[in-house]
């Protein structure tokens, strides 16, 4: 078990800057997810931490021990790869035993035939067998030990990869999109199993994904990464409800958050899309702001008025208990998406004019540069400072 400290890591490939000074501290036993679109540098960061690639600048420590220049083997981390990276020519048992064999047996003891003649080899090999079998059983793959990876299903391979990582009790688990090669149903099941595994082992997990559902359900904290920078590191609920940056708000949430351009008319009033909303903004009159409104922050209103937006219905998506209503607002290109309770909005038809009210306390305000503006009422909470480095 160990904490992980990542300090101002930079990495360039040629002229392309992949990591621009990333700093992150992960507590012992924490489950932290690096979330970001593909190509944002999250896998590179993971590989640097594992020692598979070298950083251009910055320092790393695992369990209080600086690991720069240390070979991957000596860093006491285990990694589960997206492609599982099992050795196809070895059985499941050999795949899982290899990390233990490399650590516990000497060079001579590992020799094909001669090794068996050396004194302790048989005893150590038997111990390894016992541990591999125990780990395999705990993952429900005990009956597959004699098979080759090619004979296994995707989910079983995934478990073998986890087993190979688990069997040597690493201080830190690194997982690089381990579920993205599985079908949707299996993904949900394995997600639960990984969560359970973390609770059972209690070791530090660093999990990389581009899937926000995985990040939100698994993590103690989520680190949102974009273009080689960490935008925000916070618990899942804060990432969703209290984003620090417009890009975080836009990346998290499905359907996407509605972004509307607004102008401060006077203190406490903002003009947006032909309506006026009462919000105490920390901005002077005449300032241009962006209002981020989650689809579920809307409710059906009977008529127009303050805090009510009006538009014509373009499309309706039925999701069972909810409806996603796409509204065309005057002077706005993108349709507004409102999530309404199906029973409260029974008679909506395309083309109809609809009034939707906005709860002012659910509106997120962003400055033109994408920075979050906190409302006056919550200025006390604005001390939640993001970890941001570089750029």
């Amino acid at each position: 078990m160990a904490s992980v400290l990542i300090d101002s890591i930079r990495k360039n490939y040629g002229t392309a800057s992949v990591l621009r000074g990333v700093s992150l501290s992960i507590a012992d036993g924490e489950f932290l997810t690096l979330l970001g679109p593909s190509g944002c540098g999250k896998s590179t960061l993971l590989r640097i931490l594992a020692g598979l690639e070298a950083q251009d600048a910055g320092s790393l420590s695992i369990g209080g021990r600086a690991v720069e220049g240390l070979r991957p083997k000596l860093r006491d981390v285990a990694m589960v790869f997206q492609s599982y990276a099992l050795y196809p020519h070895m059985t499941v048992a050999s795949n899982m035993a290899l990390p233990l064999r490399m650590r516990r047996l000497s060079v001579f003891q590992r020799l094909p035939l001669l090794g068996h003649l050396l004194p302790a080899t048989a005893r150590i090999a038997a111990e390894i067998d016992v541990e591999v079998t125990r780990t395999a059983k705990s993952l429900g793959i005990g009956h597959l030990l004699a098979r080759k990876p090619g004979q296994l299903s995707g989910g079983q391979r995934q478990r073998v990869a986890v087993g190979r990582a688990m069997v040597r009790h690493p201080a830190v688990f690194l997982m690089d999109e381990p579920l993205s090669n599985l079908d949707a149903k299996l993904r949900v099941q394995m997600r639960a199993e990984i969560k359970e595994l973390h609770q059972r082992l209690g070791v530090t997990f660093l999990y990389v994904t581009h899937d926000q559902a995985e990040a939100m359900t698994l993590s103690d904290r989520v680190a949102v990464m974009l273009d080689g920078e960490l935008l925000q590191v916070a618990p899942p609920q804060d990432i969703y409800a209290d984003p620090d940056d417009r890009r975080v708000a836009e990346f998290i949430g499905s359907p996407k958050i509605n972004m509307l351009e607004g102008v401060v008319r006077e203190r406490g009033l903002i003009d947006v899309a032909g309506a006026t909303i009462t919000i105490e903004a920390d901005a002077p009159a005449g300032a241009h702001l962006t209002l981020g409104i989650r689809p579920e922050a809307f409710h059906l209103a009977d008529h127009g008025g303050q805090g009510v937006l009006t538009g014509s219905v373009r499309m309706i998506e039925h999701m069972g208990s909810d409806l996603f209503v796409h509204l065309d607002l005057a002077g706005i290109d993108q349709p507004l998406i409102a999530r309404l309770l199906a029973e409260r909005a029974p008679h909506i038809a395309p083309g109809q004019t609809l009034h939707v009210g906005v709860r002012p306390d659910r509106v997120l305000l962003f400055a033109r540069d994408g920075r979050r503006l906190h409302r006056q009422a919550e200025s006390g909470r604005a001390s939640v400072t993001p970890i941001r480095e570089g750029a």
């Binding site: 598979l52 990694m79 997206q82 050795y87």
Partner: protein, 282 residues
């Protein structure tokens, strides 16, 4: 269904033409071998008869094969061939696999230039180098030994190229996983890469063994001692001894020399095709 079969199947005339061409080419390659086998069981009188028949009128195989095995030390030649081929193949794999791994999976300055040089090596015919190699062998004092037969072939550009292409198809993640599991780079080559590239290894082994078993040019230069001669050179010596007209035993000897290759190829055919289609010549 019918649409797919009609597009994948050729029309009858085209199919006949295609098979005719394939059969003709196949026959062209096969006829000398069949002739060789046929001559090896014929008595001297029949070999030079103007009319051609596949089966001998008088079966003379026992005499020819006995003569081939006893008149010259054919088992010795074949033993030499085996020793030389195994040595060459062993050393080649020992050298090629780490080289190919470095060229395929490691990042270092000048890697692409080195690979370019390997390709240049692939283009050079071996005969071009025979004189410098002969002088080198002389300076090392190893001419007329097994070492002389082996040393020019220890580095095979073809082997490096073939292995490198195959290693390239193995995902980087497997190498990363191996490093995390604690394998050294050399261990990665022998425990992970080579076993995973087994089809390529088999294909390369067949190429290597066939070409060195059949090699006449270099052994002719490198050894004079009859006890060191590999099969083709031995057969040539045998032909001279017999004044060049005793074709029955000569063909019997040739048949015996080709036989091990034929058996080896048939046994490894599946891997051979996989090895060539899997990596290099896709």
């Amino acid at each position: 269904m019918s649409a797919t079969t009609s597009t994948s199947r050729l029309s009858p005339p085209a199919a006949i033409l295609r098979h005719a061409v394939l059969l003709a080419t196949g026959a062209l390659i096969l006829v000398p071998f069949v002739w060789m086998a046929s001559l090896s069981v014929k008595p001297p009188g029949e070999i030079f008869r103007a009319s051609f028949s596949f089966w001998p009128a008088q079966f003379y195989g026992v005499e020819n094969y006995t003569k081939a095995m006893t008149e010259v030390p054919l088992p010795r030649y074949m033993g030499n061939g085996l020793v030389v081929c195994v040595l060459i193949l062993g050393v080649q794999i020992l050298v090629c696999a780490p080289c190919a791994y470095a060229l395929a999976k490691l990042h270092f300055l000048g890697r692409d230039l080195l690979f370019g040089l390997v390709l240049v090596g692939l283009l050079l015919p071996h005969q071009v180098l025979s004189l410098p190699l002969f002088i080198l062998g002389y300076q090392l004092g190893i001419l007329n030994t097994y070492a002389a037969l082996v040393f020019p072939y220890v580095v095979s550009p073809f082997g490096i190229f073939l292995f490198r292409q195959f290693f390239k198809t193995i995902p980087d993640d497997v190498v990363h996983a191996a490093r995390l599991d604690g394998l050294s780079e050399i261990a990665i080559v022998w425990k992970i890469m080579v076993p995973m590239a087994l089809p390529a290894v088999v294909a390369f082994s067949i190429f290597s063994v066939v070409s060195h078993w059949n090699d006449l040019f270099w052994p002719l230069i490198a050894v004079r001692d009859q006890s060191l001669m590999p099969p083709p050179l031995g057969i040539m010596a045998f032909k001279n001894e017999e004044a060049g007209n005793d074709y029955g035993p000569l063909m019997a000897a040739s048949t015996l020399v080709v036989l091990p290759l034929l058996i080896a190829f048939l046994a490894a055919q599946k891997w051979f095709v996989e090895g060539l289609t899997g990596g290099a010549v896709k």
